[in-house]
């Protein structure tokens, strides 16, 4: 049944106007008009977090590049001298050295190519995320289609996404809202990866907490935490389709730490009480155990930040993972009966 247009005069004595946070008056027969907040529309649209502007050319960068160039020149000169000297000493040695230098050059080029390819891939994923945010902001349908197309190519080599890719391609010409289209791609292609990433974070957190709880030396703890973080970041990046080399990895790590700094280490929806309680109880049982839990939590935090920077889409309809999802087990297994989650 369709409802007919109606008008309620606000100066009518039978109409009661209240604000959203006030309780409804207990009057029979009255019409209650509840004023909703003006910002409801912006809230419904989903406020966008502006991305930090990219940094441009910096003088430190120029200095580093110039110094790097000089060092390269020095190395080249040294190498050349070495080979010439070897030729003087014995032609055979000289040829061997030349061959080695060539092999080194080829390997170096291969490494550089791989690094650059990895960087581009990271950049592509980042661009994809930005494009998705832009497309949703103004409901740009062409852009949404492009995002989904790019996503399909990005995951084109993975067999387990075949079914999802096929469905998305079938939907390509359907008339769907821009944000729904991207959300579909999120569900079909990215959600399974979220699961894998969450599992990776949980595993790493558990491992770190166990190792640091039983390790004899603080230095071992530190080394292992760093090692685990590095491995976790690489792993998450691979899960979401990145192939970070060293440079790509450094970029990602910087972004992840930046993200950690922005979120202040406390993700939305996390109850800090639970963490303090869990940690406190664990620490009471044993100082070493408490340390282990703390290290595990830190790793989990870092893992969440890594997910946020490696994921090719922002979290739209899927729930972003919370600390409880990846480290909940850690807290309960540490002996604390965490209050119901």
């Amino acid at each position: 049944m369709t409802r007919q247009p109606r008008a309620f005069r606000l100066d009518d004595p039978d109409v009661v106007t209240i604000r959203a946070d006030e309780p409804a008056p207990e009057r029979r027969g009255a019409v209650v008009v509840t004023e909703e907040p003006m910002e409801a529309i912006e809230a419904a649209d989903g406020a966008l977090v502006p991305l930090a502007p990219r940094r441009g050319l910096s003088w430190v960068g120029v200095l580093m590049s110039a110094l790097g160039g000089l060092v390269t020149l020095a190395l080249g000169l040294g190498l050349e001298r070495l080979i010439v000297d070897l030729f003087v000493a014995s032609p055979v040695l000289g040829w061997v050295a030349l061959g080695l230098a060539l092999v080194a050059l080829v390997a170096f080029l291969a490494v550089v190519v791989r690094e650059i390819a990895g960087m581009f891939r990271e950049r592509r994923i980042e661009k994809l995320r930005e494009a998705a945010i832009d497309a949703i902001a103004v409901k740009d349908h062409e852009a949404a289609k492009r995002v989904v197309r790019d996503l399909i190519t990005l995951y084109g080599e993975r067999t387990h996404t075949a079914a999802g890719r096929k469905r998305l391609t079938a939907w390509a010409d359907e008339i769907i809202e821009a944000d729904d289209r991207i959300a579909l791609a999120e569900r079909e292609l990215v959600a399974p990866l979220d699961l894998a990433a969450k599992r990776a974070v949980a595993g790493a957190a558990k491992q770190v907490s166990v190792v640091t709880a039983i390790s004899p030396r603080a230095i071992v703890d530190v080394a292992f935490v760093i090692f685990a973080a590095v491995r976790l970041l690489r792993r998450i990046s691979m899960i979401y389709g990145g192939r970070p080399g060293l440079l790509g990895f450094l970029r990602l790590a910087r972004a992840a730490f930046g993200h950690l700094a922005v979120t202040g280490g406390v993700a939305v929806g996390d109850s800090i009480v639970q963490q303090v309680l869990g940690l406190g109880l664990a620490a009471r049982i044993s100082a070493k155990l408490g340390e282990g839990v703390l290290n595990g939590l830190m790793t989990a935090r870092f893992g969440l930040a890594a997910i946020a920077v490696c994921r090719p889409l922002p979290f739209l309809r899927e729930e972003p993972p919370r600390l409880g999802d990846v480290a909940g087990e850690l807290l309960t297994s540490a002996g604390a009966e965490a209050p119901g989650r």
Partner: protein
């Protein structure tokens, strides 16, 4: 002949753009084409846009503003000295102090806004200025653009045909009578021409006042003569011509045809060349709700009118050379205005309706390589959102001050009382409206007065609220401010 004038017009425009290109390098300018039929809200959109930028209000969805990179914006001297200035201050005063909408625009108005911002990307960083040129004009004139490619014979036939539709027959009766009395082959008497034109103008005015008047019938200057009132170029009317015989010289038909061509050459073409040919970004404002209110026939007419207008615009991917020699809009935003008349939970449906209306134009624009976006917006938000509980039933309504004389479900308003209005439910499937599946009277969108703004102790009034104006701006000019 029209081919030659077309080339001449193109050459003139190219010379103009070459000249502009030099200054473009020094100070980038962006011409924003605000397009919309009469009463679609062009003036209010332009006023609100300038208001928020000049007053430096936070516009969260405009990235440059959210990052705090817009230092200030100010009104500058406009580039064309001949064109009147857009009376921005007058319009703001009308909205804020008198709480009335600006009067319908009767002549063209131009405005240049200099936005000083911090450049964040590209090879030149730091302070920069972007000049934004906006033109406001009577919406009645817009449909004239569809005349550019028409000839007199063709136009006569189509106009007379359209006036024969059942819904218009009554309105057109007096004009048809005078039309039947005219002899196209008769002598070119000035008095006869004037009377014919008068009768035609009366018919056009009656059409505009009629119930399904969402789009006006060209020629627009007949309704809004602007500075051409009384000019001979406005003294013509369609005639019933036999399809194959060319009109002999010195007959009434020849006179009318000459005037029609003069109207195109001296009125329509310069209007198009000066204000539309060189736009970089385009926003098309569509008052979807008014058309829905008026029924399926009005919607169909609106669709047709929009399509005709948009056909004349050049859109497509822009490049440096394209910018020089054949400028085109590379982003087109379709906006359903007056979104504040429905609760935000219905905005998606409103947008779906808009997309249905502009589907043809969208496909064409996208095929040309331009980016197309759609948005439901309110340049000035006249209502607050409420939920109304009556017994067990809860309605999502909007509250504001309806204009005097508006009526909703038996209630007639005086322009002072506030009311929460439930406008009915927009259909889930937009096609339903066109199919006539929505029973008449199940939707009602009364007009509201502009919002009451709180005035602080210094007598300054607050900002005009809006819905998604910042999003529209981000789409239109966001990349220029990056």
């Amino acid at each position: 002949m029209s081919f030659l004038t077309g080339i001449a017009a193109r050459a003139g425009a190219t010379a103009q753009t070459l000249w502009d290109a030099g200054s473009q390098l020094l100070q980038p300018t962006l011409r924003l084409g605000v397009t919309g039929l009469a009463r679609s809200g062009k003036t209010v959109f332009t006023t609100a846009l300038v208001h928020h930028l000049v007053e430096g209000h936070a516009l969260p969805a405009l990235r440059a503003s959210a990052q705090g990179r817009i230092r200030r914006a100010r009104l500058d001297h406009q580039p064309d000295d001949v064109v009147p200035r857009f009376p921005y201050e007058e319009h703001v005063a009308a909205l804020v102090k008198e709480r009335r909408w600006p009067r319908s625009t009767e002549r063209i108005g131009e405005l240049r806004l200099d936005i000083e911002y911090e450049r964040a990307a590209g090879w030149r960083q730091g302070p920069a200025t972007l000049s934004l040129d906006i033109v406001d004009y009577p919406g009645e004139w817009l449909l004239d653009l569809a005349l550019i490619d028409a000839d007199y014979r063709d136009w006569s036939r189509r106009t007379i045909e359209a006036s024969g539709r059942p819904a218009r027959a009554a309105l057109a009766a007096p004009w048809h009578e005078s039309l039947a009395a005219l002899d196209p082959a008769g002598s070119a008497d000035e008095m006869v021409a004037e009377r014919a034109s008068e009768a035609f103008k009366t018919y056009l005015a009656a059409l505009r006042a009629g119930p399904e008047a969402v789009a006006t019938t060209p020629p627009g200057r007949f309704l809004m003569p602007g500075d051409l009132a009384g000019s001979q170029a406005l003294t013509f009317a369609p005639l019933e011509l036999s399809p194959d015989r060319p009109s002999a010289p010195k007959t009434l038909a020849a006179l009318m045809e000459r005037r029609f061509e003069a109207y195109k050459t001296h009125v329509v073409r310069p209007f198009f060349r000066d204000h539309f040919q060189r736009i970089d970004r385009q926003i098309v404002l569509v008052d979807v709700l008014a058309a829905v209110d008026a029924g399926p026939a009005a919607l169909a007419e609106l669709e047709e009118a929009l399509d005709q207008v948009l056909l004349t615009f050049r859109t497509g991917r822009s490049s440096f050379f394209a910018h020089l020699f054949s400028p085109r809009a590379d982003r087109v935003l379709f906006a359903a205005t007056k979104a504040d008349h429905v609760h935000h939970t219905s905005h998606d449906r409103l947008e779906a309706l808009l997309r249905l209306l502009v589907a043809r134009a969208t496909r064409r624009t996208e095929a040309a390589g331009a980016r197309v976006g759609t948005v439901a917006l309110a340049s000035v938000r006249a209502t607050r959102e409420t939920s109304v509980r009556e017994g067990w039933d809860t309605l999502q309504a909007v509250a504001g001050t309806p204009e005097p004389g508006e009526r909703v479900g038996g209630e007639i308003f005086d322009g002072k009382a506030e009311a929460a209005v439930f406008p009915g439910e927009l259909p889930e499937r937009p096609e339903e409206v066109l199919e006539g599946a929505v029973p008449p009277g199940s939707l009602r969108f009364p007009r509201f007065r502009p919002p009451k703004l709180a005035v602080d102790a210094l007598g300054r009034s607050g900002r005009l609220p809006h819905i998604r104006l910042d999003r529209a701006l981000e789409f239109l000019i966001g990349d220029y401010l990056s």
